[in-house]
Symmetry: C2
């Protein structure tokens, strides 16, 4: 059983949340749009999918022919099929709830540098971005970080308790990693206030099952993706 | 079995997507924050939930004591437990995928009038809102509407095919309803291009199982919620 993952080449973006789960669980997959001619192949594939068409990448195609779109939905599927989340109803929904909340902050992190329109360059919305960035740094990051910290105070090492990571822990690692890239000064200021979140980030970064991936060229640099480092949008 | 739904009183907001599913399926629930003293009770309840705390309302509490947050996650749960979505894996994930895509457009519709920060008044971000609104009307609404229409061309009357609504159909009704309230001129222009979407909206509005609710005072006016009508943000 091999999965086809479809996501734009060149940035980690939302595809990275899926990649981390596949890699950490040792699940075989092809990263289709990163193969030669991948961009055109992705555009063609999107158009041709009449059954359950994805609105946007990433999407996953299974060997039985299921097409699954929306990052959190893909992780819900992988979590159930490959045991990357608790199996009981409450634990399963809890991990998904955390994932959806992570997705909300990912969308907000993107809109910091694109507050007006995705179709415009950053340079065409810099003034608005500067205004939005201040609120994001001072209100939004702390609000979400406080929630993650509160969870870990109760649950322990991992977001769903127990002694093993779930897909939401991998995603929180990626979120913190991206925020540290995009807002290094702000995240340095905040780190001391959310020690459990920061230790979770370190713990995932050190997972033996992720070392080969994190040190490979399959792990892409952030570049001009969702998490972007514009020094003028950061502050302590 | 009665559920407790917790969501701010005064606007339909994201709580409405949950309410529509509960009402259409005839599921008993208490709308806790709309009872006397509800605002304070909600704030108190949020603070006290140490196990699986919701990041924000809406959240649902079951009689077994599960707390479920994130609108789409609540609907996933209700869909499975009360048969409001297909039971097979592909159909179940498909309906959830649609719901998550609806949630994306709901968030964008909110950010049209709050492109800088939720903590600021609209009046303090009017200029940015006007810029964002043009892109939302001209690029984003058509992109999402086109996707919903494409689905219905393939599936028929309902988003997951078959002869019965799922929770995603109820949510698409609410999305279209809210967009028509907020952007009446734009939606009038677009209606003819997405006839199947518009007929789905009418079909849900006419469901016998929703008539009592839609004609009751439990159905709240849009007011200053996610969908807001500022004439200056609308255009044909």
């Amino acid at each position: 059983m091999t999965y086809d993952l479809w996501y734009w080449d060149g940035i980690p973006g939302r595809g990275e949340f899926v990649r981390l789960a596949l890699e950490a669980a040792g699940i075989a997959y092809r990263d289709r749009a990163r193969e030669p001619g991948g961009d055109e192949a992705l555009a063609r594939d999107m158009k041709a999918r009449d059954v359950h068409p994805p609105f946007a990448p990433p999407y996953l195609v299974t060997s039985e022919g299921m097409t699954i779109g929306q990052t959190a939905n893909i992780l819900l599927f992988l979590g159930e099929r490959h045991g990357l989340a608790p199996q009981d109803p409450a634990g399963r929904l809890w991990v998904h709830q955390i994932q959806l909340t992570i997705a909300d902050l990912v969308a907000e992190a993107h809109d910091v540098h694109h507050p007006i329109a995705n179709s415009l360059y950053y340079e065409d919305q810099k003034k608005e971005a500067a205004r939005r960035a201040r609120h994001f740094r001072e209100e939004r990051i702390p609000k979400f970080m406080g929630w993650f910290e509160r969870i870990l105070v109760h649950e322990g090492l991992w977001l769903a308790g127990g002694d093993r990571w779930t897909y939401a822990d991998l995603s929180l690692f990626q979120l913190i990693d991206g925020l540290r890239f995009a807002f290094p000064r702000r995240m340095a200021t905040l780190a001391g206030q959310y020690p459990k979140v920061m230790r979770l980030h370190e713990r995932v970064a050190a997972l033996p099952e992720l070392q080969a991936y994190l040190n490979s060229d399959r792990r892409l640099p952030y570049g001009d993706g969702i998490f972007r480092h514009y020094p003028e949008l950061d502050a302590a």
